[in-house]
């Protein structure tokens, strides 16, 4: 089985993508305009986060300028209520957003995958116990649960990441459990079992590679949700704490100076929207590619 990973499996008329097949499908993204725009936006954001501080060298904490300056060539996005350069704060905010988004989604991805595989693979009591907890967590509106956890843990960026990670774990657990069950019913898993292959090997070699496609789509979708949730938590004062800039807290602070300095309210919100849009575009594009049934929809 594992010697022939490119083998196409037709299950009930649907293609189950194996890993090389996945790359073939990813190459189709090139013909997918919306997906490409998404990739470009995300790459641009990553570049800004990584190299922005090297190009735009103003210190985001320096209060050297006059307060609430309108945008000029020297300060393209103006200055805030403490005379700090808004562009350097937006650049730093990109680092915060991407970091929080990635770490919290990795938390959800790893715990969700472990729970989902455990539930799907071992079934019965394990499945029942794990999925009841997952169902109950799923019964909360996500942002409300995130607010409660982040608020009770105490407002900080780390706690916001933990809260977001916990909140989105059930979504990953459910999808992984479902995919696990459908893969486990396939003949090659039965064959592997009859050959006496250990559970861990079946999980790592036969199961995991075959549940990557839905996980990739889910990860991009939840990256956008996680970034949006971090911004909302910071906006409410439950995420990244001042003086460190994050888009959500900048937006919140701008509300007191809105009429005198509207640019302070526009830049951070636009930044959040563009990044989230990038991930949504990519997610939409990937769904078109990875899920042929939905392609025309």
């Amino acid at each position: 089985m594992s010697a022939q990973p490119t083998l196409e499996l037709h299950v009930g008329g649907r293609l189950k993508p194996t890993l090389p097949r996945l790359w073939l499908q990813l190459s189709r993204v090139r013909r997918n305009t919306i997906g490409i725009i998404g990739v470009v936006i995300i790459l641009a954001t990553v570049l800004v986060a990584l190299f922005g501080p090297l190009v735009w060298r103003t210190d985001y904490a320096s209060q050297a300028s006059r307060r609430l300056l309108a945008p000029t060539a020297a300060q393209p996005l103006g200055t805030d209520q403490l005379g700090r350069d808004q562009l350097s704060r937006i650049i730093h905010g990109a680092q915060v957003s991407l970091q929080v988004g990635m770490i919290s989604v990795v938390i959800a991805l790893v715990t969700g995958t472990i729970i989902g595989i455990a539930a799907g693979f071992y079934g019965r009591t394990v499945d029942a116990a794990l999925m009841r907890v997952v169902d109950i967590m799923f019964a909360f509106p996500g942002i409300v649960l995130a607010i409660v956890i982040a608020g009770l843990l105490g407002p900080s960026r780390t706690n916001a990441m933990i809260a977001i990670g916990i909140v989105y774990t059930p979504a990953f657990a459910r999808v992984v459990r479902g995919s696990t069950l459908s893969v486990l019913s396939l003949p090659y898993v039965e064959a592997a079992r009859s050959l006496g292959i250990r559970d861990t090997r079946i999980i790592l070699r036969h199961l995991l590679p075959n549940i990557t496609a839905p996980l990739i789509v889910l990860t991009t979708v939840y990256l956008s949700t996680a970034i949006l949730t971090e911004a909302a938590l910071s906006f409410l004062g439950l995420g990244t704490q001042p003086p460190e800039p994050s888009w959500g807290s900048m937006l919140n602070a701008s509300r007191s100076y809105m009429e005198r300095a509207p640019w302070l309210a526009i830049a951070p919100g636009l930044a959040i929207m563009v990044v989230v849009l990038g991930f949504n575009f990519l997610g939409d594009g990937l769904r078109d590619v990875l899920d042929p049934q939905l392609r025309d929809a």
Partner: protein
């Protein structure tokens, strides 16, 4: 159908019990409590003084006893008092619930009224520039943070209309017009995401239905295009759209929470966030349990409604 509905209703009980345990555990096991929050900055408070306050508030009891008191309160309807203001929780909730419900209903109605026609137009003319614009517009709608939309809308009204929303909530039974004027921006901010979702779902569902054989049959027998669209296609494509609107109640609750804080509307979300900042356990517990229960119950109703609307669905 009746048996299925009954079984689902019975299943609601363990879910609600599980939720109450989870909420209680989160509120009690995480660090810091209301007494610490009360005495922040007050270094004069001794540990024994704090302990006395805890005892008076019933926080010194063993956790299982406290949990049973919490659940008992839900069952008997005696919800206790806010630990910080001393106001009965029942009073707080009767004041807060109508605000959140009004916001959610206004947002859902706006989203439906705008989203469905946009989705239909987009599906009827697929792969045109209009369709592309609608698709991109839909994705933008999914990406606009509601708190940013609300901030910009406030900015626009204050700059161009010189109108600033009143600081206190106007009940609709006192001044309906004033109330709607006050709720318009918050409700619109919440509805943007749902509007985009409804639009996308209508489009996808409509495209799916338009491919069906019975649409071809209707066209072949010479039914006018308009009648095919509305009588055959739209009616059938609305079933999944209705369920999506129902399942998005979580988005509405979450959106209401944030928007209530921005606009200072004392609804359930605002109450919850205030409770968290002051570690007001009784308020957090009942507010969180209420929001989660609404979410679960609405989802259940939508599930049941789905079966009524589409008899083909098997309810095993």
């Amino acid at each position: 159908m009746a048996r299925y509905a009954l079984r689902r209703l019975l299943f609601l009980v363990p879910t609600l019990v599980g939720m109450s345990i989870l909420i209680f555990a989160m509120v009690r096991l995480l660090p810091g409590d209301v007494v610490d929050a009360m005495f922040t900055g007050d270094s004069g408070a001794t540990a024994s003084a704090k302990q006395a306050v805890r005892k008076a508030l019933g926080l010194a009891d063993p956790l299982p006893v406290q949990y049973l008191k919490f659940v008992g309160g839900v069952v008997t309807g005696s919800l206790g008092q806010s630990l910080t203001s001393g106001e009965p929780v029942a009073t707080i909730m009767t004041r807060a619930i109508p605000i959140t419900v009004e916001l959610a209903v206004l947002a859902a109605v706006t989203a439906t009224v705008v989203g469905i026609p946009l989705g239909v137009v987009s599906a009827v003319r697929p792969n045109t520039s209009l369709d592309f614009a609608a698709r991109v517009g839909g994705l933008i709608g999914l990406s606009v943070p509601n708190f940013w939309f609300a901030t910009l809308a406030l900015l626009a009204t204050s700059l161009f209309l010189h109108w600033i929303p009143p600081v206190t909530w106007i009940p609709p039974w006192q001044d309906l017009f004033g109330n709607l004027q006050q709720m318009a921006i918050p409700a619109l901010a919440i509805s943007v995401y749902l509007m985009a979702t409804v639009m996308r779902m209508t489009r996808a569902s409509m495209l799916e239905v338009l491919r069906q054989d019975y649409i071809r049959t209707a066209r072949a027998k010479g039914a006018p295009s308009r009648s095919v669209m509305f009588r055959h296609a739209l009616r059938n494509s609305l079933i999944p759209v209705i369920t999506v609107i129902g399942f998005q109640v979580g988005t509405l609750i979450g959106g209401a929470t944030i928007v209530e804080v921005i606009f200072g509307l004392p609804g359930m979300g605002y109450t919850l966030v205030q409770g968290i900042f002051s570690r007001d356990y009784t308020v957090i517990q009942f507010a969180a349990l209420f929001l989660a229960s609404v979410f679960v119950v609405v989802n259940l109703l939508v599930d049941l409604l789905y079966g009524v609307l589409d008899p083909r669905i098997e309810q095993a």
